[in-house]
Amino acid sequence: MLEPRPEEMLKITGLHAFYEESHILHGIDLTVGAGELVTLLGRNGAGRTTTLKSIMGLVGRRSGSITINGIETIAMPTHRIARLGIGYCPEERGIFSNLTVEENLLLPLVVREGGMSLAELYEMFPNLQERRKSMGTRLSGGEQQMLAMARILRTGGKLLLLDEITEGLAPVIVQAMGRLIGQLKERGFTIVLVEQNFHFAADLADRHYVIESGVIADMIPRDELASSTDKLNQYLGV
Protein backbone atom coordinates (compact mmCIF):
# COMPACT_ATOMS: atom_id res chain seq x y z
CA MET A 1 0.00 0.00 0.00
CA LEU A 2 1.20 3.50 -0.75
CA GLU A 3 1.95 5.65 2.23
CA PRO A 4 -0.35 8.63 2.44
CA ARG A 5 1.43 11.72 1.21
CA PRO A 6 2.29 13.88 4.22
CA GLU A 7 0.64 17.23 4.35
CA GLU A 8 2.94 19.84 2.77
CA MET A 9 4.02 22.23 5.49
CA LEU A 10 6.48 24.10 3.28
CA LYS A 11 6.53 24.12 -0.49
CA ILE A 12 9.01 26.16 -2.48
CA THR A 13 8.81 26.37 -6.25
CA GLY A 14 11.02 28.31 -8.65
CA LEU A 15 12.52 30.48 -5.93
CA HIS A 16 14.92 33.18 -7.04
CA ALA A 17 16.54 35.45 -4.48
CA PHE A 18 18.67 38.55 -4.75
CA TYR A 19 20.78 40.76 -2.50
CA GLU A 20 21.02 44.17 -4.15
CA GLU A 21 22.32 43.30 -7.61
CA SER A 22 23.58 39.78 -6.85
CA HIS A 23 21.36 36.93 -7.99
CA ILE A 24 21.91 34.18 -5.40
CA LEU A 25 19.16 31.56 -5.74
CA HIS A 26 18.30 30.37 -9.24
CA GLY A 27 15.05 28.46 -9.01
CA ILE A 28 14.96 26.39 -5.82
CA ASP A 29 12.28 23.68 -5.60
CA LEU A 30 11.70 21.78 -2.39
CA THR A 31 8.93 20.51 -0.19
CA VAL A 32 8.81 19.59 3.46
CA GLY A 33 5.94 17.53 4.84
CA ALA A 34 4.40 18.07 8.27
CA GLY A 35 6.50 16.33 10.90
CA GLU A 36 9.42 15.77 8.55
CA LEU A 37 13.03 16.60 9.32
CA VAL A 38 14.86 17.69 6.20
CA THR A 39 18.42 18.94 5.89
CA LEU A 40 19.82 21.48 3.44
CA LEU A 41 23.42 20.50 2.77
CA GLY A 42 26.00 22.32 0.71
CA ARG A 43 29.38 23.96 0.65
CA ASN A 44 29.97 27.37 2.11
CA GLY A 45 28.32 29.97 -0.08
CA ALA A 46 26.00 27.45 -1.78
CA GLY A 47 22.89 29.40 -0.78
CA ARG A 48 21.51 27.45 2.22
CA THR A 49 21.28 30.47 4.54
CA THR A 50 19.81 32.51 1.72
CA THR A 51 17.13 29.85 1.25
CA LEU A 52 16.08 30.11 4.91
CA LYS A 53 16.20 33.90 4.78
CA SER A 54 14.06 33.85 1.64
CA ILE A 55 11.43 31.81 3.46
CA MET A 56 11.38 34.51 6.18
CA GLY A 57 11.33 37.33 3.62
CA LEU A 58 14.69 38.62 4.77
CA VAL A 59 16.45 38.87 1.41
CA GLY A 60 16.50 41.96 -0.78
CA ARG A 61 14.11 40.55 -3.37
CA ARG A 62 12.61 37.16 -4.08
CA SER A 63 10.35 35.65 -6.69
CA GLY A 64 8.70 32.31 -7.31
CA SER A 65 6.41 30.69 -4.78
CA ILE A 66 6.75 29.80 -1.11
CA THR A 67 3.71 28.36 0.62
CA ILE A 68 3.40 27.63 4.33
CA ASN A 69 0.56 25.22 5.00
CA GLY A 70 -0.79 26.13 1.61
CA ILE A 71 -0.66 29.90 2.18
CA GLU A 72 1.33 31.86 -0.40
CA THR A 73 3.90 34.09 1.33
CA ILE A 74 6.01 35.45 -1.50
CA ALA A 75 4.51 38.94 -1.15
CA MET A 76 4.07 38.95 2.64
CA PRO A 77 6.04 41.12 5.04
CA THR A 78 8.37 39.19 7.34
CA HIS A 79 6.39 39.61 10.56
CA ARG A 80 3.27 38.15 8.94
CA ILE A 81 5.20 35.18 7.58
CA ALA A 82 6.53 34.53 11.09
CA ARG A 83 2.99 34.60 12.45
CA LEU A 84 2.08 31.65 10.25
CA GLY A 85 4.03 29.65 12.82
CA ILE A 86 7.70 29.62 11.86
CA GLY A 87 10.57 29.59 14.33
CA TYR A 88 13.80 30.89 12.85
CA CYS A 89 17.22 30.26 14.38
CA PRO A 90 19.74 32.32 12.38
CA GLU A 91 23.28 31.23 11.61
CA GLU A 92 24.81 33.97 13.80
CA ARG A 93 22.36 32.97 16.58
CA GLY A 94 21.05 36.51 16.94
CA ILE A 95 21.12 36.73 20.73
CA PHE A 96 20.29 40.29 21.73
CA SER A 97 22.99 41.82 23.92
CA ASN A 98 20.65 44.54 25.23
CA LEU A 99 18.20 41.93 26.51
CA THR A 100 18.47 39.57 29.43
CA VAL A 101 18.33 35.83 28.82
CA GLU A 102 14.70 35.79 29.91
CA GLU A 103 13.82 38.78 27.72
CA ASN A 104 15.45 36.98 24.80
CA LEU A 105 13.31 33.95 25.58
CA LEU A 106 10.13 35.97 25.75
CA LEU A 107 10.79 38.06 22.64
CA PRO A 108 9.25 35.96 19.84
CA LEU A 109 5.54 36.53 19.56
CA VAL A 110 3.32 33.63 20.65
CA VAL A 111 1.29 32.95 17.53
CA ARG A 112 -0.87 30.07 18.68
CA GLU A 113 -1.51 27.72 21.54
CA GLY A 114 0.54 24.61 22.05
CA GLY A 115 3.97 26.21 22.44
CA MET A 116 6.17 25.33 25.38
CA SER A 117 5.83 27.36 28.55
CA LEU A 118 8.69 29.24 30.14
CA ALA A 119 8.70 26.68 32.97
CA GLU A 120 8.97 23.78 30.50
CA LEU A 121 11.81 25.52 28.69
CA TYR A 122 13.69 26.10 31.93
CA GLU A 123 13.24 22.45 32.78
CA MET A 124 14.66 21.51 29.41
CA PHE A 125 17.49 24.08 29.62
CA PRO A 126 18.41 24.45 33.32
CA ASN A 127 21.46 26.60 32.46
CA LEU A 128 19.20 29.25 31.02
CA GLN A 129 17.17 29.42 34.20
CA GLU A 130 20.29 29.93 36.28
CA ARG A 131 21.39 32.75 34.04
CA ARG A 132 18.02 34.23 33.24
CA LYS A 133 18.94 37.68 34.56
CA SER A 134 22.26 37.86 32.69
CA MET A 135 22.52 39.85 29.49
CA GLY A 136 22.16 37.57 26.49
CA THR A 137 25.64 37.79 25.09
CA ARG A 138 27.28 37.06 28.46
CA LEU A 139 26.46 33.40 27.88
CA SER A 140 28.96 30.92 26.48
CA GLY A 141 28.66 29.96 22.82
CA GLY A 142 26.88 26.73 23.68
CA GLU A 143 24.44 28.46 26.03
CA GLN A 144 23.73 31.10 23.40
CA GLN A 145 22.91 28.37 20.91
CA MET A 146 20.59 26.74 23.46
CA LEU A 147 18.92 30.11 24.02
CA ALA A 148 18.51 30.68 20.29
CA MET A 149 16.80 27.30 20.05
CA ALA A 150 14.75 27.60 23.23
CA ARG A 151 13.18 30.94 22.38
CA ILE A 152 11.56 29.68 19.19
CA LEU A 153 9.84 26.80 20.98
CA ARG A 154 7.48 29.07 22.93
CA THR A 155 5.55 30.51 20.02
CA GLY A 156 3.37 27.58 19.12
CA GLY A 157 4.92 27.61 15.63
CA LYS A 158 5.43 24.11 14.27
CA LEU A 159 7.95 24.77 11.50
CA LEU A 160 11.54 25.33 12.63
CA LEU A 161 14.24 26.73 10.36
CA LEU A 162 17.61 26.00 11.96
CA ASP A 163 20.80 27.38 10.42
CA GLU A 164 24.05 25.54 11.30
CA ILE A 165 23.17 25.14 14.95
CA THR A 166 26.21 22.95 15.66
CA GLU A 167 28.76 25.32 14.15
CA GLY A 168 31.65 26.04 16.49
CA LEU A 169 30.27 24.02 19.41
CA ALA A 170 32.14 21.54 21.60
CA PRO A 171 31.39 17.86 20.81
CA VAL A 172 29.38 17.30 24.01
CA ILE A 173 27.15 20.23 23.16
CA VAL A 174 26.75 18.99 19.60
CA GLN A 175 25.55 15.71 21.09
CA ALA A 176 23.12 17.55 23.35
CA MET A 177 21.85 19.39 20.28
CA GLY A 178 21.34 16.08 18.51
CA ARG A 179 19.23 14.78 21.40
CA LEU A 180 17.26 18.01 21.46
CA ILE A 181 16.51 17.79 17.75
CA GLY A 182 15.35 14.20 18.25
CA GLN A 183 13.01 15.29 21.05
CA LEU A 184 11.61 18.11 18.94
CA LYS A 185 10.91 15.73 16.10
CA GLU A 186 9.08 13.44 18.49
CA ARG A 187 7.01 16.36 19.66
CA GLY A 188 5.84 16.77 16.09
CA PHE A 189 7.88 19.78 14.96
CA THR A 190 8.65 20.07 11.28
CA ILE A 191 12.33 20.91 10.92
CA VAL A 192 14.49 22.31 8.15
CA LEU A 193 18.09 21.93 9.25
CA VAL A 194 20.94 23.65 7.42
CA GLU A 195 24.20 21.78 7.89
CA GLN A 196 27.64 21.64 6.38
CA ASN A 197 27.65 17.81 6.31
CA PHE A 198 25.16 15.01 6.82
CA HIS A 199 26.73 13.32 9.86
CA PHE A 200 24.99 15.37 12.55
CA ALA A 201 21.50 14.55 11.32
CA ALA A 202 22.14 11.25 9.58
CA ASP A 203 20.09 9.28 12.14
CA LEU A 204 17.32 11.86 12.40
CA ALA A 205 16.69 13.28 8.97
CA ASP A 206 14.04 11.92 6.65
CA ARG A 207 15.58 13.48 3.56
CA HIS A 208 18.64 15.51 2.56
CA TYR A 209 18.62 18.24 -0.07
CA VAL A 210 21.95 19.23 -1.59
CA ILE A 211 22.25 22.86 -2.69
CA GLU A 212 24.92 23.96 -5.15
CA SER A 213 25.30 27.49 -6.50
CA GLY A 214 21.74 28.44 -5.70
CA VAL A 215 19.94 25.38 -7.11
CA ILE A 216 18.94 22.00 -5.69
CA ALA A 217 21.55 19.59 -7.00
CA ASP A 218 20.13 16.42 -5.47
CA MET A 219 17.69 14.97 -2.97
CA ILE A 220 18.62 11.91 -0.97
CA PRO A 221 16.03 10.07 1.13
CA ARG A 222 17.04 8.48 4.39
CA ASP A 223 17.18 4.90 3.08
CA GLU A 224 19.57 5.88 0.25
CA LEU A 225 21.95 7.74 2.53
CA ALA A 226 24.33 4.84 3.12
CA SER A 227 24.66 4.11 -0.58
CA SER A 228 25.07 7.78 -1.45
CA THR A 229 27.94 8.65 0.89
CA ASP A 230 30.53 8.95 -1.84
CA LYS A 231 28.30 11.04 -4.01
CA LEU A 232 27.50 13.32 -1.05
CA ASN A 233 31.14 13.71 -0.10
CA GLN A 234 31.83 14.78 -3.63
CA TYR A 235 29.05 17.37 -3.58
CA LEU A 236 30.23 18.72 -0.27
CA GLY A 237 33.89 18.67 -1.18
CA VAL A 238 34.89 16.56 1.80
Binding site: A82, F96, N98
Partner: protein, 301 residues
Amino acid sequence: MELSFHTVMSQVMLGLNNGVFYAILSLGLAVIFGLLNIVNFVHGALYMLGAYVALLGYTMLGPLLGKPDFHLNYWAALVVAPLVVGLLGIGIERTMLRRLRKFDHLYGLLLTFGLALIIQGVFTNYFNVSGDAYDAKPEVLEGAVNLGFMLFPKYRLWVIVISLVVCFSTWFVIERTKLGSYLRAGTENPELVKAFGINVPLMITLTYGYGAALAAFAGVLAAPIYSVSPVMGSEMIITVFAVVVIGGMGSIMGAIITGLLLGMVEGFTKVVYAPASSTVIFLIMVLVLLIKPTGLFGKES
Protein backbone atom coordinates in the same frame (compact mmCIF):
# COMPACT_ATOMS: atom_id res chain seq x y z
CA MET B 1 34.28 87.01 44.08
CA GLU B 2 32.19 85.52 46.80
CA LEU B 3 30.27 82.33 46.04
CA SER B 4 27.43 82.25 48.48
CA PHE B 5 25.58 78.97 48.82
CA HIS B 6 22.40 80.76 47.83
CA THR B 7 23.74 82.21 44.61
CA VAL B 8 25.24 78.91 43.57
CA MET B 9 22.14 76.90 44.43
CA SER B 10 19.76 79.26 42.73
CA GLN B 11 21.80 79.20 39.53
CA VAL B 12 22.15 75.44 39.72
CA MET B 13 18.38 75.10 40.16
CA LEU B 14 17.77 77.40 37.20
CA GLY B 15 20.37 75.36 35.35
CA LEU B 16 18.49 72.19 36.24
CA ASN B 17 15.43 73.85 34.81
CA ASN B 18 17.27 74.21 31.49
CA GLY B 19 18.69 70.76 31.97
CA VAL B 20 15.31 69.05 32.00
CA PHE B 21 14.61 70.52 28.56
CA TYR B 22 17.95 69.20 27.32
CA ALA B 23 17.09 65.86 28.89
CA ILE B 24 13.63 65.48 27.30
CA LEU B 25 14.84 66.60 23.90
CA SER B 26 18.02 64.53 23.84
CA LEU B 27 16.05 61.56 25.15
CA GLY B 28 13.71 61.86 22.16
CA LEU B 29 16.67 62.13 19.81
CA ALA B 30 18.26 59.05 21.38
CA VAL B 31 15.08 56.98 21.09
CA ILE B 32 14.63 57.98 17.46
CA PHE B 33 18.28 57.44 16.63
CA GLY B 34 18.22 54.02 18.28
CA LEU B 35 15.44 52.62 16.15
CA LEU B 36 15.55 54.72 12.96
CA ASN B 37 19.27 55.47 12.83
CA ILE B 38 18.36 59.02 11.93
CA VAL B 39 19.70 62.15 13.53
CA ASN B 40 16.37 63.94 13.78
CA PHE B 41 17.21 67.48 12.80
CA VAL B 42 13.55 68.48 12.79
CA HIS B 43 13.38 67.91 16.56
CA GLY B 44 13.80 71.59 17.40
CA ALA B 45 11.03 72.54 14.99
CA LEU B 46 8.72 69.96 16.60
CA TYR B 47 9.50 71.49 20.00
CA MET B 48 8.65 74.91 18.60
CA LEU B 49 5.42 73.53 17.08
CA GLY B 50 4.42 72.20 20.51
CA ALA B 51 4.76 75.68 21.97
CA TYR B 52 2.76 77.17 19.09
CA VAL B 53 -0.04 74.64 19.52
CA ALA B 54 -0.31 75.85 23.11
CA LEU B 55 -0.08 79.53 22.15
CA LEU B 56 -2.45 79.43 19.19
CA GLY B 57 -4.82 77.11 21.02
CA TYR B 58 -5.08 79.75 23.65
CA THR B 59 -5.30 82.85 21.45
CA MET B 60 -6.67 81.82 18.07
CA LEU B 61 -8.53 78.53 18.24
CA GLY B 62 -11.67 80.03 19.83
CA PRO B 63 -12.08 82.80 17.25
CA LEU B 64 -11.33 80.35 14.46
CA LEU B 65 -14.09 78.06 15.69
CA GLY B 66 -16.44 81.02 15.97
CA LYS B 67 -16.39 80.83 19.76
CA PRO B 68 -14.30 83.83 20.84
CA ASP B 69 -14.56 82.86 24.50
CA PHE B 70 -12.92 79.48 24.00
CA HIS B 71 -9.31 79.17 25.08
CA LEU B 72 -7.34 75.94 25.08
CA ASN B 73 -5.99 75.98 28.61
CA TYR B 74 -2.48 75.01 29.68
CA TRP B 75 -3.39 71.54 30.96
CA ALA B 76 -5.28 70.70 27.82
CA ALA B 77 -2.35 71.98 25.75
CA LEU B 78 -0.03 69.58 27.58
CA VAL B 79 -2.11 66.75 26.14
CA VAL B 80 -3.24 68.20 22.82
CA ALA B 81 0.12 69.51 21.60
CA PRO B 82 1.96 66.19 21.96
CA LEU B 83 -0.98 64.45 20.25
CA VAL B 84 -1.06 66.87 17.32
CA VAL B 85 2.71 66.95 16.87
CA GLY B 86 2.97 63.19 17.49
CA LEU B 87 0.49 62.63 14.65
CA LEU B 88 2.49 64.99 12.47
CA GLY B 89 5.58 62.93 13.32
CA ILE B 90 3.75 59.76 12.34
CA GLY B 91 2.85 61.41 9.04
CA ILE B 92 6.46 62.46 8.44
CA GLU B 93 7.69 58.94 9.13
CA ARG B 94 5.04 57.24 7.02
CA THR B 95 5.26 59.48 3.98
CA MET B 96 8.92 60.46 3.94
CA LEU B 97 11.40 58.81 6.32
CA ARG B 98 10.11 55.32 5.54
CA ARG B 99 11.03 55.73 1.90
CA LEU B 100 14.58 56.63 2.82
CA ARG B 101 15.14 53.61 5.03
CA LYS B 102 16.97 51.59 2.42
CA PHE B 103 19.39 54.40 1.63
CA ASP B 104 22.28 55.88 3.59
CA HIS B 105 21.27 57.43 6.91
CA LEU B 106 22.69 60.71 5.72
CA TYR B 107 19.56 61.17 3.60
CA GLY B 108 17.34 61.00 6.67
CA LEU B 109 19.45 63.67 8.28
CA LEU B 110 19.24 65.87 5.19
CA LEU B 111 15.49 65.38 4.92
CA THR B 112 14.81 66.27 8.54
CA PHE B 113 17.15 69.24 8.27
CA GLY B 114 15.20 70.44 5.24
CA LEU B 115 11.90 69.95 7.05
CA ALA B 116 13.20 71.99 9.99
CA LEU B 117 14.11 74.85 7.65
CA ILE B 118 10.71 74.73 5.95
CA ILE B 119 8.72 74.67 9.20
CA GLN B 120 10.80 77.42 10.73
CA GLY B 121 10.62 79.45 7.52
CA VAL B 122 6.83 79.24 7.36
CA PHE B 123 6.46 80.26 11.00
CA THR B 124 8.93 83.11 10.60
CA ASN B 125 6.75 84.37 7.78
CA TYR B 126 3.60 84.49 9.89
CA PHE B 127 4.81 85.08 13.44
CA ASN B 128 6.91 87.48 15.40
CA VAL B 129 10.57 86.37 15.41
CA SER B 130 11.19 88.17 18.68
CA GLY B 131 8.49 86.03 20.23
CA ASP B 132 5.01 86.21 21.72
CA ALA B 133 4.22 85.80 25.38
CA TYR B 134 2.10 82.84 26.42
CA ASP B 135 -0.27 84.15 29.08
CA ALA B 136 -2.06 80.99 30.05
CA LYS B 137 0.16 79.88 32.90
CA PRO B 138 -2.25 78.30 35.40
CA GLU B 139 -2.88 80.21 38.57
CA VAL B 140 -1.83 77.35 40.86
CA LEU B 141 1.64 77.54 39.36
CA GLU B 142 2.06 81.29 39.98
CA GLY B 143 4.32 82.48 42.74
CA ALA B 144 7.23 80.84 44.47
CA VAL B 145 7.89 78.00 46.86
CA ASN B 146 10.36 78.05 49.70
CA LEU B 147 12.85 75.24 49.16
CA GLY B 148 14.54 75.96 52.48
CA PHE B 149 17.65 77.36 50.90
CA MET B 150 15.92 79.62 48.41
CA LEU B 151 12.63 80.80 47.00
CA PHE B 152 12.04 79.08 43.69
CA PRO B 153 9.36 79.88 41.13
CA LYS B 154 6.56 77.36 41.43
CA TYR B 155 6.19 76.99 37.68
CA ARG B 156 9.85 76.11 37.19
CA LEU B 157 9.67 73.56 39.96
CA TRP B 158 6.66 71.99 38.27
CA VAL B 159 8.57 71.84 35.00
CA ILE B 160 11.49 70.11 36.68
CA VAL B 161 9.30 67.58 38.45
CA ILE B 162 7.05 66.67 35.54
CA SER B 163 9.99 66.46 33.14
CA LEU B 164 11.86 64.13 35.45
CA VAL B 165 8.72 62.00 35.74
CA VAL B 166 8.37 61.84 31.94
CA CYS B 167 12.06 61.11 31.38
CA PHE B 168 12.31 58.36 33.97
CA SER B 169 8.99 56.80 32.96
CA THR B 170 10.28 56.62 29.41
CA TRP B 171 13.48 55.07 30.66
CA PHE B 172 11.49 52.58 32.72
CA VAL B 173 9.28 51.55 29.82
CA ILE B 174 12.26 51.07 27.51
CA GLU B 175 14.58 49.31 29.93
CA ARG B 176 12.21 47.36 32.14
CA THR B 177 9.09 46.32 30.24
CA LYS B 178 8.15 43.84 27.56
CA LEU B 179 7.32 46.64 25.12
CA GLY B 180 10.74 48.11 25.82
CA SER B 181 12.40 44.78 25.10
CA TYR B 182 10.93 44.93 21.57
CA LEU B 183 12.37 48.41 21.17
CA ARG B 184 15.80 47.44 22.47
CA ALA B 185 15.82 44.35 20.27
CA GLY B 186 14.70 46.43 17.30
CA THR B 187 17.56 48.82 17.90
CA GLU B 188 19.99 45.93 17.74
CA ASN B 189 18.67 43.69 14.96
CA PRO B 190 15.37 44.81 13.41
CA GLU B 191 15.34 42.08 10.77
CA LEU B 192 15.41 39.31 13.34
CA VAL B 193 12.74 41.04 15.42
CA LYS B 194 10.52 40.97 12.32
CA ALA B 195 11.29 37.27 11.94
CA PHE B 196 9.92 36.83 15.46
CA GLY B 197 6.53 38.10 14.36
CA ILE B 198 6.77 41.70 15.52
CA ASN B 199 5.54 44.48 13.27
CA VAL B 200 8.75 46.48 13.25
CA PRO B 201 7.67 49.10 10.69
CA LEU B 202 4.69 49.98 12.91
CA MET B 203 6.95 50.09 15.95
CA ILE B 204 9.28 52.49 14.12
CA THR B 205 6.38 54.75 13.17
CA LEU B 206 5.05 54.88 16.72
CA THR B 207 8.51 55.46 18.15
CA TYR B 208 9.05 58.43 15.87
CA GLY B 209 5.62 59.71 16.85
CA TYR B 210 6.52 59.36 20.52
CA GLY B 211 9.80 61.23 20.03
CA ALA B 212 7.90 64.03 18.26
CA ALA B 213 5.31 64.10 21.05
CA LEU B 214 8.05 64.40 23.67
CA ALA B 215 9.50 67.40 21.83
CA ALA B 216 6.07 69.04 21.70
CA PHE B 217 5.51 68.35 25.40
CA ALA B 218 8.77 70.16 26.16
CA GLY B 219 7.60 72.99 23.90
CA VAL B 220 4.41 73.46 25.94
CA LEU B 221 6.40 73.39 29.18
CA ALA B 222 8.70 76.05 27.75
CA ALA B 223 5.94 78.35 26.52
CA PRO B 224 5.25 80.15 29.86
CA ILE B 225 8.99 80.54 30.61
CA TYR B 226 10.50 81.62 27.31
CA SER B 227 8.64 83.62 24.73
CA VAL B 228 7.16 81.53 21.93
CA SER B 229 9.02 82.27 18.72
CA PRO B 230 9.73 80.59 15.39
CA VAL B 231 13.43 80.35 16.23
CA MET B 232 13.08 78.96 19.74
CA GLY B 233 13.60 75.43 18.42
CA SER B 234 16.70 76.08 16.37
CA GLU B 235 18.31 77.92 19.29
CA MET B 236 17.53 75.10 21.68
CA ILE B 237 18.46 72.27 19.35
CA ILE B 238 22.05 73.42 18.82
CA THR B 239 22.73 72.99 22.52
CA VAL B 240 20.79 69.74 22.60
CA PHE B 241 22.93 68.30 19.81
CA ALA B 242 26.01 69.21 21.81
CA VAL B 243 24.45 67.40 24.77
CA VAL B 244 23.83 64.37 22.60
CA VAL B 245 27.40 64.38 21.31
CA ILE B 246 28.69 64.60 24.89
CA GLY B 247 26.43 61.85 26.19
CA GLY B 248 26.81 59.58 23.20
CA MET B 249 23.86 58.48 21.08
CA GLY B 250 23.62 54.99 22.47
CA SER B 251 22.00 55.28 25.85
CA ILE B 252 18.62 56.44 27.13
CA MET B 253 19.80 57.01 30.68
CA GLY B 254 22.95 58.64 29.29
CA ALA B 255 20.85 61.18 27.41
CA ILE B 256 18.82 62.01 30.51
CA ILE B 257 21.76 62.29 32.92
CA THR B 258 23.91 64.25 30.48
CA GLY B 259 21.07 66.69 29.82
CA LEU B 260 20.47 67.32 33.50
CA LEU B 261 24.16 67.61 34.40
CA LEU B 262 25.00 69.94 31.57
CA GLY B 263 22.10 72.20 32.47
CA MET B 264 23.47 72.44 35.99
CA VAL B 265 27.04 72.98 34.77
CA GLU B 266 25.72 75.82 32.65
CA GLY B 267 23.96 77.29 35.68
CA PHE B 268 27.04 76.95 37.84
CA THR B 269 29.19 78.62 35.18
CA LYS B 270 26.84 81.57 35.28
CA VAL B 271 27.91 82.21 38.87
CA VAL B 272 31.60 81.57 38.37
CA TYR B 273 32.16 83.27 35.05
CA ALA B 274 28.96 84.38 33.42
CA PRO B 275 30.29 85.14 29.92
CA ALA B 276 31.29 81.48 29.51
CA SER B 277 27.89 80.09 30.43
CA SER B 278 26.61 79.97 26.87
CA THR B 279 29.74 78.27 25.54
CA VAL B 280 30.70 75.94 28.37
CA ILE B 281 28.68 73.05 26.89
CA PHE B 282 30.48 73.36 23.58
CA LEU B 283 33.80 73.49 25.37
CA ILE B 284 32.92 70.26 27.16
CA MET B 285 31.83 68.80 23.84
CA VAL B 286 35.24 69.49 22.31
CA LEU B 287 36.99 67.96 25.31
CA VAL B 288 34.80 64.86 25.27
CA LEU B 289 35.28 64.42 21.53
CA LEU B 290 39.04 64.56 22.00
CA ILE B 291 39.07 62.09 24.88
CA LYS B 292 36.16 59.74 24.12
CA PRO B 293 34.77 60.34 20.62
CA THR B 294 31.79 58.01 21.19
CA GLY B 295 30.56 60.22 24.05
CA LEU B 296 30.42 59.59 27.77
CA PHE B 297 27.74 56.89 27.59
CA GLY B 298 28.33 55.86 23.98
CA LYS B 299 29.30 52.32 23.12
CA GLU B 300 32.38 51.62 21.08
CA SER B 301 31.35 50.08 17.81
